[in-house]
Symmetry: D2
Subunit: 336 residues, 4 copies
């Protein structure tokens, strides 16, 4: 019988862009779950029900946290609210899916992870890149030894447009907000300890980013324990769209992960041969990874197996983002 | 107010592979509709509700056809049942979406279309290729004049595996079942009258197909009224997967529509440079077109605007499939 | 010792574009040959020697034909002069390389081939496409069984610009002048007898071509003895350059031969992803095939092994070009 | 009259692989030059004349250096002989083309350049990558502003096989022998001053390389005066062939230079879509650049215009190779 295993009861807090995406997936494409309630500070109940149907809705997250029927909370609120919400969720013994970053402070991050662990609460951060079918395929090929021992990996992550200065000011900076995905990706692919990081960065495009104390262009070099290297290049603005590529070089071959384009049409005219641009929006590009992430998270909760993003993964990526900042400031490689 | 326009009430009949696909889309991704009831001869109500939730379900299509609250029926049953179901739907004044072919007989097809028209019932056939984003993009580029006046189009449609002989026996033959999509595509892209068809075909791969009176390989040449050409090549079995390509050559350029691959990883090893295979299943390849088709069908019903597949489109493609059969038998081009 | 085999003494007649190309190759890149003399009706001796050095030069072909030291004549003069030159070369027992076509008349073609055969003179026509590295690679892959039994081949041959009307008037028509390469390619790849040809064609682009009694766009369907098909599409003008592609579909796979581009740079900008155009000139595109052709021709002469283009190949391609013309005029498939 | 400008008289010294390549080009494809004499210590005169015809040949370079008719010497001997040969060539007032490196010592390099300059002798080093059509195209696109202001460039240079240990021992090390091409390429594309270099490297594949005191894998980060970056990744062994790629990212777009493959055939079979390997040999890959390099060098000598590789280019690349070595040893970025 299909019903032997009871559905996981989900409460979602925060109805921004990410919240809506996860909610749609939880309603119609993630199996074995039920959205028991949704909370958002500003959305009107009537509008919510018009859009998502008769799911219980509140303007107060507490209504979700204290609901004894709810097993899991999905937190998709602004970063500054993560700490209190996660602490309450731990208090009420809810398992937690939280969007990244857990917190801008490394100490708070560690503290929250430890609290969750002590309380037996499972907590996972949305390092969604790992769940993209193309990157997963690359990781599996590497793990299967298809290209032998890895020597160099190169990660390209470039945004199509500079975020608003308001966002940048509260983002924790480019390394913590943006490069952290690539730091996690390097670890995901290599599955090895990183012993050195050297980060360069500056403002190339928008002086207001500099005034906000941030950078818009970065180059990060990582050295793994076995001497292999990773290079991450980041930009906040690529005019041709959202550039998400990966190259992995080993002693038996190389894997390239190329961009996902808008369509597969090729136009030949008197000026050249033209293809479509890369999908220029992280929602479109990583739609499938957000779904896969939520599917694997909820399956891990139900099965009791390890989460696909571990506490060690969260701490390591966050620590690397901090070390990158330190390297940028000192102009020197930082040993880890 | 969003609610001014009442939701379209849908009844779906037939829970095979296509029925399930349309049903999933109607439930969660097509806006402005409500699935009021579903019928299938063999599925058990309990299993249905376990899978799709508390939608009213019947083992008798009549329960849907006679329900006065239902505006539209979606018919995804075997071809042999289309005629009686469509006739009853017309009787009860339901608008109709029916999977192709409407009927294996050209006369019956015309008769049903005429009856629907007389009764003021809207009827559309599932020529889904038109709604694939890549092919739509190509058609729009052509319509926008990007490659000038079209001279030659080449359509490749190759299945990954030969269907069962049971299916082949009732399919109406390769032209009616398979090539009909390409005949419709040629018309969709060119938007011109076809004046001649020349079809070649034989069994290359499986003698049981020949015993069933069908072919597994075909080559069809079309001549349009302005002298331009289309070539369609079909195979029931391509070992590398489902091959869906299109080439359009005009006096100001060319458009190629390439296959959709499983992923965007490229493996370099000592034997060569390797990419993933094309998506090898029509459900995966045309998932987006099935959704778009249903969205545009229901929007047209609600808005009162013309359906995106007209009666003329249906008659033309069906007539061409018949003419292809006649050409194959005579070994001569057939004028239309 | 390298010198055991005496160098083949070559006389070249006709210093047009093709003559110059062959001459450069014979001087510096074809081994085991010596250019003994060159003749051209109009070129001045002084200009010739300035360009090519101290090779004996004449304004009279007879000086080459009657020279007893010369083993081989390379004939690169206008088509109308081929018959008398070839006849004289046969008379003087010179082996012959002649640019295509041998003659516009099928009867004359056959007669010249028979005369050469009777006299023990080797005669080869410049079906250069066979010697292009990409097409040779495709043919070898097919012959090695890499894609199993072939079912469909598709040949695209499109010129970048319409030739002058003067040329068209004496060219023998599009099939004899242009499509003949593709008819030969179909035979080269398939190595099977063609039993039917169906040719469509018209003027799409330049009415003066029509006034000259020719066409600028064609579509030719071939049926091989085993039921497999070839489709050839031709145009005298593709705005994006010289389009030379080949697709071969078999029951174990498919081979595509793509165009050769000007360079391997890819430009990403806000409008799309752009690649270079195909090499837009037959001299540039087939430079390597002209060289390989001459190397294999002279090696075959020296070794006594069969020529890489046989008399049967010449007659078959020429016969097919004639049959294409007949099919175009009758509007019917022609059996062979 | 074509002969107004007298041919440049060339003497070539050293008949190894590079010497033969330049000699073939000088004989048949470089205009306005005459190979007056060739010298090699070990090649036998008879063998030379059998291969290259009746060009004067000597086993003693002095015969070339002291020949007053000779304008230019092309030096393609082992690195250790460059210094004495260049000095003598300067003494005899011959212009000089010398293969890289000029000398393993930075001081000697500078001294030789200065001597040549003082003597009015033109001296150019074979930084051939600059003359590859694909890289030239990329440089021209950048210079034309097609992708705006450059922020990041990424250079991949990977050899197909590890050179012999004997070669490695006398090569000057990976940076001086191999990466120097990429250091020059970074300057060629960016046309800006480099202010910092950070080099990582180790032996990944062959312990005998380590015993010879060299590395087989390297990652070099460059910072330009305006804050833009270059990353060079090098390997002595890529199983899939000679990997030569370039990526240039600017604020208005990106240029990728991809590899040159053996052929343009694409094979689809049940395992995937397969393309040919990159040309796996520097002679084949850079054949066209060696020719272009010699053409532009001899044209510059004849016209009196600046050489396409300046003394500053030579010193800069050599200095960078030294600095890379220093960075590798210290584990720290080196300021320049």
């Amino acid at each position: 019988m299909m019903n032997k295993k009871k559905s996981l009861q989900i409460g979602l807090i925060g109805l921004g862009r990410m919240g809506r995406t996860h909610l749609r997936h939880l309603i119609s494409q993630v199996k074995g779950v039920n959205v028991a309630a949704v909370a958002d500070l500003v959305c009107r109940k009537e509008d919510f029900n018009n859009e998502f149907g008769e799911i219980p809705f509140f303007n107060d997250a507490q209504k979700i946290l204290e609901n004894p029927r709810i097993d899991v909370v999905v937190i998709t609120t602004p970063t500054s609210t993560h700490k209190p919400l996660v602490e309450k969720a731990i208090h009420y013994r809810k398992h937690i899916f939280c969007e990244k970053p857990l917190d801008l402070s490394l100490e708070v991050t560690e503290e929250l992870l430890n609290k969750a662990a002590s309380a037996g609460v499972k907590l996972m951060l949305g390092f969604n890149r790992r769940f993209d079918p193309d990157f997963m395929q690359a990781q599996q090929s590497v793990a299967a030894g298809k290209i032998g021992r890895i020597q160099i990996i190169k990660i390209t992550n470039r945004d199509p447009t500079i975020p608003s200065i308001e966002f940048i000011k509260t983002s924790g900076g480019m390394f913590m907000d943006f490069s952290i995905h690539d730091l996690d990706m390097a670890r995901f692919i290599m599955n090895k300890k990183i012993v050195e990081i050297y980060a360069k960065g500056l403002v190339f495009m928008d002086k207001s980013v500099e005034e906000a104390g941030d950078i818009d262009t970065a180059l990060i070099t990582l050295t793994f324990e076995d001497g292999s290297y990773a290079v991450i290049d980041n930009s906040r603005k690529a005019v041709y769209g959202y550039d998400q590529r990966l190259e992995i070089f080993g002693d038996e071959g190389m894997i390239l992960v190329d961009n996902n384009l808008y369509h597969q049409n090729i136009l030949y005219d008197k000026n050249g041969i033209h293809k479509a641009l890369p999908l220029n929006n992280f929602m479109a590009r990583f739609e499938r990874s957000y779904l896969k992430e939520m599917q694997l998270f909820t399956e891990a909760i139900q099965s009791g197996l390890p989460l696909p993003v571990s506490h060690e993964d969260i701490m390591a990526a966050t620590t690397l983002a901090y070390a990158a900042q330190k390297s940028l400031q000192s102009g020197m490689p930082v040993k880890l």
